[in-house]
């Protein structure tokens, strides 16, 4: 499948919002989303959730002969995979640019920084060394895969335990986990990537871009740092021109973020260690709360709500004069008017329902193009159904009245072929009925709001978790 393109209005809106220092989910410019780390039952398996972005990391090991030019060092192998369930644009087996970039970045971040001590992975020099393999699977893409992947990678490596080995002369004994406790890897430091997205030729920068923000950014700067403020990797892509003090500012921000992240990782690792030692239950199944529907869950969004109150009169006074032609507006509540008739939302067979001469449709409908501005002119009474012979006035049209031509002259291409065989009488009747149809029609299949809201608290799909906080 192709990825959904970014429309012009989204791009414009996002850039305007960024200029006003506002983000879609209410974060500040330098704020990260919530990070959640959970471990599996095996050592070396973890899932990191950065907002809605999820990455799974898994470490495994194997005894292999070493590389000929490095006989005393173990081997590290990194692999990042973009699962098709992460985003509609990811296809299996397709080597995209993003995949290559991720692989290279993770390798540079974890291998070149020498965070894992490879000398300690040697068992018999020149013959047997441990090969440590790290697989990162991206499960959901909501922006900033790089950070999530780097956190998952280093957490999985820290969490992993390899089998204990003892060498006596010529004999090498590899102990099973039952015989001797497995041994953790020797990790010197924890490099973590932090991404900065740049907009408007480097004027604005955001930390931890979400998926929409990534679509409209000019370029991204990734800095991998550890808590000792040592930069392990730095990469700028997208062709943006960065000034020296911008890069310095980013590295200062990175230092702060990495310190927080490292603390979080340590706490998570300690918690898991404690639970395992005490004999409690651990694993992914335990980190999911029981008796709760978690598929439909949303973190509360802290949206700034200051200074948004405006009096209705102010709005009217400042608003542009309304356009010329109006249909009869329907007054729902003071301050709300509906212009334009509802359009029938019908699933299933349209032809069938229109062929029958059904009874009058009653009830108001929700116009799908809904304008809620108070109407100054023509405050007419609440009239909800057009009469048969009155022309329906459209606000887009230049003319006051739309003249309907003779039925035979109308283009029939928009009706399904079956309708062409109708005779004149039925056409006329149907045209009249259609003009009624344009007016408030109940959608044929809709979910009853009352039922949805209150009834189902333990069913499979119908909701109920606190979401919104402002």
């Amino acid at each position: 499948m192709k990825a959904t393109p970014v429309s012009n209005c989204e791009r414009r809106f996002l850039l305007r919002a960024i200029e006003e220092r506002k983000r879609l989910d209410g974060r500040q410019c330098y704020d990260y989303r919530n990070v959640r780390i959970s471990f599996g039952t095996d050592y070396g398996c973890c899932i990191v959730e950065l907002g809605k972005t999820r990455v799974l990391g898994q470490v495994s090991c194997e005894l292999v002969p070493p590389k000929p030019n490095r006989p005393t060092e173990g081997i590290l192998f990194f692999n990042v995979e973009l699962s098709p369930m992460a985003a509609p644009g990811f296809e299996p087996g397709r080597q995209s640019d993003l995949l290559v970039k991720l692989n290279r970045l993770i390798e540079r971040c974890l291998r070149n920084s020498k965070c894992v001590d490879t000398e300690s992975l040697c068992v018999v020099a020149g013959e047997k060394v441990w090969q440590i393999r790290l697989d990162l699977h991206v499960l959901n893409h909501d922006g900033n895969i790089i950070d999530a992947a780097s956190i998952a990678g280093i957490v999985a490596l820290c969490h992993f335990r390899r089998p204990d080995v003892s060498v006596q002369g010529e004999e090498v004994t590899v102990y099973t986990p039952e015989e001797r406790d497995p041994v953790p890897l020797s990790i010197h430091h924890m490099p973590i990537c932090v991404s900065f997205a740049f907009f408007q030729q480097g004027t604005y920068l955001l930390v931890d871009p979400s998926e929409r923000e990534e679509c409209v950014m000019d370029g991204v700067l990734v800095i991998a740092m550890n808590k000792h403020r040592e930069i392990c990797t730095i990469q700028s892509s997208g062709g943006i021109m960065l000034v020296k003090d911008q890069v310095l500012r980013c590295s200062k921000i990175t230092a702060v973020k990495v310190a927080e992240m490292t603390e979080l990782i340590q706490k998570a690792l300690e918690n898991d260690q404690k639970v395992r030692k005490e004999g409690g239950k651990f694993g992914f199944a335990e980190s999911i709360p029981n008796q709760k529907i978690t598929a439909f869950k949303m973190g509360s969004a802290a949206v700034d709500t200051n200074n948004v109150e405006e009096q209705a009169e102010e709005i009217i006074a400042k608003a542009d004069p309304p356009s010329e032609v109006f249909a009869k507006p329907i007054l729902h509540t003071p301050g709300t008017a509906q212009i334009g008739e509802g359009i029938e939302n019908s699933w299933g067979d349209l032809e069938e329902s229109e062929r029958e001469e059904a009874a009058e449709e009653e009830g108001e409908s929700e116009a799908t193009a809904f304008e809620c501005q108070t109407v100054e002119t023509e405050e007419t009474s609440t009239m909800s159904e057009t009469k048969k012979d009155e022309p329906i006035v459209l606000s887009d049209s230049e003319e006051e009245e739309v003249v309907i031509l003779e039925p035979q002259e109308l283009p029939k291409k928009t009706r399904a072929p079956a309708s062409c065989s109708r005779n004149h009488n039925r056409w006329k009747r149907r045209r009249r009925k259609e003009s009624r149809n344009l007016s408030p029609a109940n959608p044929l299949f809709y979910s009853d709001p009352d039922v949805n809201d209150t009834e189902y608290s333990c069913g499979p799909a119908w909701v109920s978790c606190p979401g919104f906080n402002c």
Binding site: V303, H332, E341, E357, A358, N442, V463
Partner: protein
Amino acid sequence: MAAGRAEAEACVGQVVLPGDVLLLPARTDEERLRLGAGAGGRLLCGPGLRRCAAGLLVTKCGLLRHRQAGGAAAGGAYWVDSQQKRYVPVKGDYVIGIVTAKAGDVFKLDVGGSEQASLSYLAFEGTTKRNRPNVQVGDLIYGRFLVANKDMEPEMVCIDGNGRSSGMGIIGQDGFLFKVSLGLIRKLLAPKCEIIQELSQLYPFELVLGMNGRIWIKAKTVQQTLIIVNILEACEYMTAEQRKQALAKLSGN
């Protein structure tokens, strides 16, 4: 495992699973012969259901709903209320599409389905071969499906049977587009939807709902737009009381 068989009327409002067979009341010959205008004739088989020999076969999991005979659903209608995020084009649905390409006389739109929909430039109100619509790549279009089945690429039009646009066409340049699940859209499109009414008490805004899960919002300022976007996204996960509380807090601010 044998599929569950049950009377259709008994299951209304309950969860049904794919493979369940719903038995319909057997019709007598008299009823079948009586085809009056308007008198209950055909039973409408809505989304998530298929006809089979015994009655209705459920193809999606969800809640079974029923609508009495009369009005548009002459003879009654059954359908399954299911929840999903991935849209499958259906003929007659009103959707918001994003223009991805202009190929000669035809625009290609992304509607969230597996194929891109095509839209002819003549399918707008008041356009002729000389007078073409002003559509750029990346614009938003609100239209309805003329052709939508699994064998062909879907086709959209922005014009109704009489040649008028009736609200369809190019959506304005400002505003914001975001995506929600299909169930929330149907909830918002229900008549007398409380959510829309309560929101309209807050600030004035323009709203276009596409059945493919896309909503376009335009309010006075960026902040108001963001607030409405967040409320609508959260409405999926909030009960009515929580929503009223949130809105009360907002209007109290």
